[in-house]
Structures are given as C-alpha cells and as structure tokens.
Amino acid sequence: MVQPASEPIIRCSGLSIGYVDGIGATTRVVDHVSFLLEPGHSIGIVGESGSGKSTLARALLGYLRGGGRFLGGQLEIDGVEVTSAATASIRALRGLRVAMVPQNPLASLTYHIPVGRQVEEVLRARRGLLRLEAEQRTVALFSEMGLPDPEIIGRRFAHQLSGGQRQRVVIAAALACDPALLVLDEPTTALDKTTEAQVLELVQRLRSQRGTALVLVTHDLNVVADTCERVIVMKDGCIVEQGPVTTVFRRPSVDYTKTLLDASLDLTGDAPSANTLADVLVNAEKLSFSYGTGGWFKRPQRQARPTLDRVDLALGRGEVLGVIGESGSGKTTLGLILAGLLASDQGALALEGHSIAMVAGKRRPEMRRRIQMVFQDPLSSLNPRQTVLAAVMRPLRLFFGLNRNAAREKAASLLSDLGLGPEYLDRYPRQLSGGQQQRVAIARAFAAEPDVLICDEITSALDASVAGQVLEELNAMRRRHGTSVILITHDLAVIWRMASRVMVLKDGIVIEAGSTGDVFAAPKDPYTAALLSSATRVKRLNEEPTPSSLINEIAHVA
C-alpha cells in the first residue's frame, strides 16, 4: 500500500483562490494553502461550511466554479501545474489521473440517463472503449463496488436507487479509468450512518486494492478519523493545523481544532442524570402520520410506510428529553405534531393530564402559549420584513396584552438574557449572524413563557463554536424559567450534553428509549450502536491506536 517515496501526486504551495463578483471585487476563499500528498496516501480536509474546503477540492482537478480565479501560489497535480496549464492538459488529467466523487450523488447523476450508461460514457469517452467492452467493464466495476445485480442496476435511473447505491455508482464512475488520485467531497453527508459505515469501508478497501491516493473533504471529524492518515484543518480559507490524524486529534495544537473536537461526542464525562418520571407534563400516545394522499385532482401518492408510526412519548416537568434520529426518521414530523402544526392521524396528546387538540388553531390560547417551538434554520424562522423587536414583542402583546413600552422592555430583557444588547432590537434578521438569529428565535419562544419548548435541530445550521454557546444559553434559560425541553437532533454530542433521557427514532418508530447514560453506555439496538460507533471514532483514537494509523505515522516520520 505504501509505495516508495516518489514524486508527490499533489504539490500545493502558497495556493490562493478567490471569487470575483459582478462589480469586480475579489473574495479570497483559499488563502496561502500548502501541503503535499504522496501517491497512494490519504489526507482528510476538515472544516466548517465556508472554510474553502470544497473550492480547494475542486481546484485539485483544475476546476474553479464560475467567477473563480487562482490568485497565487502553485498547485501541481501529477506533474501538471494546473494554475497555469492549458485547458487541454487539465482536461487530460480529469477522469484519467484524478477523479472526483461529488457531494450529492442524486443530483450528480444525470436523471434522464440510466446509471450504467453514464459509467459506460466515461469509459468510452475517456478510454476509447467500444460499446461492448464498456458495458462489460461497467458491470465488473459495479460488482467491485458491491452493487447487487450489476446488470439490472445499470439499467435503472438514479432516482430508482437507494442513497448508498447511488454513492457506489458515482464512485464507480470516478474510478472507471483507474485514476491515481480520488477526491471525495462530503461523501457520506447524504447517507444514513449504517450506509455511511459501508461506504467508508468500500473506500478503504478500494484504496488498499488499487493504491489510489485519497483526498477526503468533510465537516465530520469522525469520517476522517477512520479513513485518513493525515488531516488538514481549514478555517476561513487558511490551514490552521495539519499533521497525522492521530497526533492532531489527540493533541490539537490550535484552539479551533479543539473547539471542533469538543463538539464531537465524548463519553468520558456524565450525561445529565435522569430522575424517575414522577411529574409528567406532556403525555403523547400512538402519534402517527402518513404524508398526503394528494388532493382531488392530483395523483394519489402511495406511501409504503408512515412517516411516524405509533410513537409514545412522556415528558417530565423541567427535564430535557432528547430525540435522536437521522434525516427521514420522522423526528421533525414528531416535533411538528407535538407543537400542533401537524395533526396526528391517531393517538392522543395531553398536557398535565388534560387532553388537548391536535392542531394549534383549535387549542385554547392558554394552551398555545404553553407549547412553543424553535426551528432548525435560524434565518427562515424570523420574518425578514420584521425587526427583532417586532418578532419578540408579538407573543408578549398577544398572550399577555402588554402595551408597547412594557413589551419593548420585556423583549430587551429576554434578549439580554441571551447575550444580545438593546441595540439589536431595531435590526432586521439579515443584519444578524446565524447565532444571533437563533438567539432571537429562542427569545421569541421564551417570550410566551412556555412550559414546553420543542427544539428542532436548532444548532445544525451553526458553526461548532457558536452552537456550543447557544446550547449553553438555552440551558440557562430553561433552568431559569423551569421549562421542559424536547430536543430533536441528529447530533449525539448535543444529546449527551443536554438531555437526561433520550429516545432513538428510526423510520418513524421508537427503537430505543431510556436515560441518556444507560442508552449511550449499553445500546440495545444495533442501529443505536452504529450511531454511537460512528460518532465516537475521533475519541476512540485516543484510546487505542489503530494499526493502520500507527503504520502511517511511522511511514510519515520516516
């Protein structure tokens, strides 16, 4: 696997890339980046959105999106200086010497052409294979990727495949011409954790069998931990830290890397302790939901299984209940039903033992006040045409009949509890950062003085450092107001920090529930175990050095 030191496949020194906008102003998104990659080796590029990692990844194929310019430095790929090379010689690299697996496999496959034909096209256009050869080669590639029934799959369209299958097809297309370097851009973001593990395993296997060098771009440190030898941490276009994965993740030398690492799940501490459920505030039974049967004139939409299937839930007074689930698990639907924004197909909902209507509009105002919600996307949860003051004041005036001045005072005090000064009152949402927007949304929810607050992925759109602060402030607010919180998230670290009890949702069904400490220490369901295992890869590096990373470290030291 490790080849004798030869010419590096990537030689990047002082590389800067910027985008020029319509008026001619340049924004620098990659700033003096330098690194090397030897043939057959692997490197991970981690960073949050906006760190420039995707731009860098595309630059490795000599490709910049519209308006992109190389501003300086060198980037040599397989001996070709792509910052200055002619279009033809860059074209010659792509697909043949360096290939890319893009982020969203569904959108990255042409929807109107069968997937097999798309892989054949690569072989025919780039390798000059004849139709029959290309067909046979594609089938062989598909079976190498572990796709079932390769001939049949090849005749399907992208939308007819599962997420994991699509990702395998895209990898097959990238590897069709046996490139020396494979760039993967967020290869697992669109996949669930079980599939993610399988795809990462496939990537590992292909690398060891084919000796392809690997660049893996991701926001998820856990993905890098298992797959790569070295890691580059990027922030605002600069490399803040680089080195062997084990070294960087065990002994980060930069605060930013520490923040990123802190945001990932660390089971060494204690989860909030769970009391026995004596004082039940919300009780929900058999909540179920199936998406629409279309309208009168529309095609009836058949759905194989309900989005939410007979979910029971009990929330104690003052506690934080975590709901874990990946996209498509029905966790957001559950949140909307509890809030009264969707009506459950069956079952019952009770607050303090009194049954309440399923739809918010049919509840008494007092009941509506007592259940509030904070949404995922901070920008969209505030009306762009209303000031912060208008947003926070509305519930105060509606539920408590406060006059303008009193409401303004109260709004200011709510905001200051969340670390926002009175100067923010008259701003519009677009003038705030993501973290500030989410604080305003939290203030608006607390303005109603709710008993129950439903938080749906409230930190997933925020940077790790900001997310941590927002969660701290939420925790302080809920303690002060004695509010019970239902915390819906895909992030196990958030649950571990905040929730005393947890339920795991998969395909609309609760597959596991209990106190956070118990569930995380000894998951009963294999799915929960898979979630935990993928979330704790970074931390497991601290415990036992994996053989492969040890070898790599030695190889790099040598």
Binding site: R58, L61, Y63, R65, R91, A92, L93, R94, G95, L96, A99, M100, P102, Q103, N104, A107, S108, L109, T110, Y111, H112, I113, E121, V122, A125, R126, F157, H159, V170, A173, A174, F297, R299
Partner: protein
C-alpha cells in the same frame, strides 16, 4: 408509463369540458340572452313580442340554461356549433377552412421557431454573460415587447412597399391548398416568428443556464467528458423539460399573435372570422372559435406533458 400518459389525456379532456362550460357561461348566461346580445335594444323594441318569442324559440333560447348548456356541449362533441343568428349558416361551415388555415400558419411557425430558438437559447446559455448572451437577452426583450401588428406593418412597409419583394396582403383564398397559402404569406409567418423566437429562446436559455449549473454537469466536466456531449446529451434534455411546462403560456400567446397577424395580412384564418363574429355579435361563432383555439392550446399542452414523460423518467412512476 402508460397509466401516467392516460392520466394526462384524461386530465386534458376534463380541462376541455370545463373550458366549454366556461365559454358557454361567459357568453350566454351573464348578460341576457343571445338575442339581446346580437340585436340592440332599439331593434328589439321594434320587433313585435310574438315574433320575438318565435325567434327565441327557433334559437332554443326559451329553454332553461342547463338544457342549453347540455345542448352546447353535445354539439361541441359532434362539431355542431349551431347556426349563425342572422344568415342561418352552420357555424362549422364558416369556421372549417379558416381553422385549417390558422393551423397551417401555426404549424409553419412552430416548425421554424423551435429549432432556431433551441440554437439561440443554447448558444446564449453556453456563453452566458458574454456578448452573444447579452445580444440574445436584449434582442428577445425587444422582440416580445413590440406588438405583432406593429412588426407586421413594419415588415410590410419594408418588404412590400419600400422594397417590394413580397406581397403586402395574402392573395390566396380560403380554400387554397396549404402550400399555396404559405407561399403567399412569408411576411405573415415572419411576423409571428419574431415574437415566438424571442419568447422561446429566452425560455430555453433560462432552462439551459439552470441545466448547465446542475451538479451532474459539474461531475461530467470533472470527469473530462467532451463538452459537446455534456451540452447536447446531458444538459439539453434537462433544459427542455422545464421549458415544456411553460409551453401553455406560449401556445396561448401564439394563438393571440396569429389572430392579430391574420388581420394585418388579410390571411383567411380564424382571426378574420373572430373579429367579424365579435363585431356582428355572432355569439355562436365566437363560442366556436374560442373553443377551437382553446382545444389547440390544450392539445399542445398535452403534447408537452407527454414529451416530459418521455424525457424525465422521474415523472413516470404511476
């Protein structure tokens, strides 16, 4: 796939029936009856009451509205739209040939406009932001901002008066064969073409710009697939699909344009009959023309829907 196609055919039929009902209501029920509409109040006052009643009976106006509606729908299916109020000629005889002639004009325009608009739209999108693109965008705005009758009149002034290479008005008569009609009306075709190309090219440019910005095009470029394959085999079908859904608007505006242009050039089509029908307040003629042109639009829409089914496999699951 077959079920999805049948579903669309059925929906078109429903739309057509609703259209027929709407057209009937719009003309017959709201403002008095057909006779009040065709004759002015003075004229009605002149006619003795018993003759008026007889006239109403002849025209079936004494029957209740829902019965007349059923009769109208029934007639529409058998292409029997009744007789004109004054000359008592069957409406279908009046509009038969003009309908054919208008369809010939529309067909000729579509046949030329679609390939040209495709070429222009693809070029503009491919060289987005360059001179070609600006030229196409600006040109197309100008193209559909000038009324058809102005374009037609100016073409006549240029190519029939100032430099007389084409006839100013159409010399062919209503029942001439298709080619004779077309040969005598190059300026009429050109007039409708200008607006059509402007509109379609812009539509296709937008579709193509979106398609070229899609993730699959980026993946293909990153794999080194030749640009012509990307543009024509991958992006083009994806660009045509959204344009097809906008075809309804275009088809309707095409019919409107043709009506006007027929008047400018005295082309023996539905437009002529329509204006004659409206000025003489021949309700049945106007109804029949409205229904026929709506049927053309609905049919074009159906074709577009079926083409989408062919091009986009995602729409096929029944």
């Amino acid at each position: 796939m077959l079920i999805a196609a049948l579903r669309r055919v059925l929906l078109s039929v429903i739309t057509l029936v609703m259209l027929a009902v709407f057209i009937f209501i719009a003309t017959e029920i709201m403002p008095g009856d057909a006779l009040d509409v065709s004759l002015s109040a003075d004229e009605i006052a002149m006619i003795p009451p018993e003759r008026l009643a007889k006239m109403k009976q002849d025209l079936g106006l004494d029957r209740p509205a829902h019965e007349r509606l059923l009769a109208f729908l029934n007639g529409a299916i058998t292409l029997d739209f009744g007789k004109t109020l004054i000359s008592k000629t069957p409406v279908s005889a009046i509009i038969g040939y003009p309908l054919r002639n208008s369809l010939i004009l529309a067909g000729a325009v579509l046949l030329i406009a679609i390939p040209l608009a495709l070429a222009i739209g693809i070029a503009a999108a491919f060289w987005k932001g360059r001179a070609v693109d600006h030229l196409v965008s600006t040109g197309s705005i100008i193209g559909y901002s000038i009324p058809e009758f102005v374009i037609g009149t100016i073409l006549v002034m240029l190519f029939a008066v100032a430099w007389p290479i084409f006839p100013a008005t159409i010399t062919a008569s209503t029942r001439d064969p298709a080619l004779t009609l077309l040969a005598s009306s190059p300026l009429a075709v050109a007039t409708v073409l200008i607006g059509s190309i402007a509109y379609l090219a812009r539509l296709l440019r937008t579709g193509m710009v979106d398609a070229l910005a899609s993730d699959f095009v980026e993946r293909l470029r990153l794999t080194g697939i030749p640009e012509w394959r990307i543009v024509f085999l991958h992006a083009l079908p994806a660009a045509v699909v959204p344009s097809l859904t906008a075809l309804a608007l275009y088809a309707a505006s095409l019919v409107s344009g043709i009506v006007v242009v027929e008047l400018v050039f005295a082309y023996p089509g539905l437009g002529q009959e329509l204006v004659r029908g409206v000025t003489r307040r021949e309700v049945h003629v106007v109804q029949a023309i409205a229904l026929c042109s709506a049927a053309v639009v609905v049919a074009l829409n159906l074709l577009a829907d079926l083409a989408i089914l062919m091009l986009d496999p995602r729409t096929r699951r029944a």
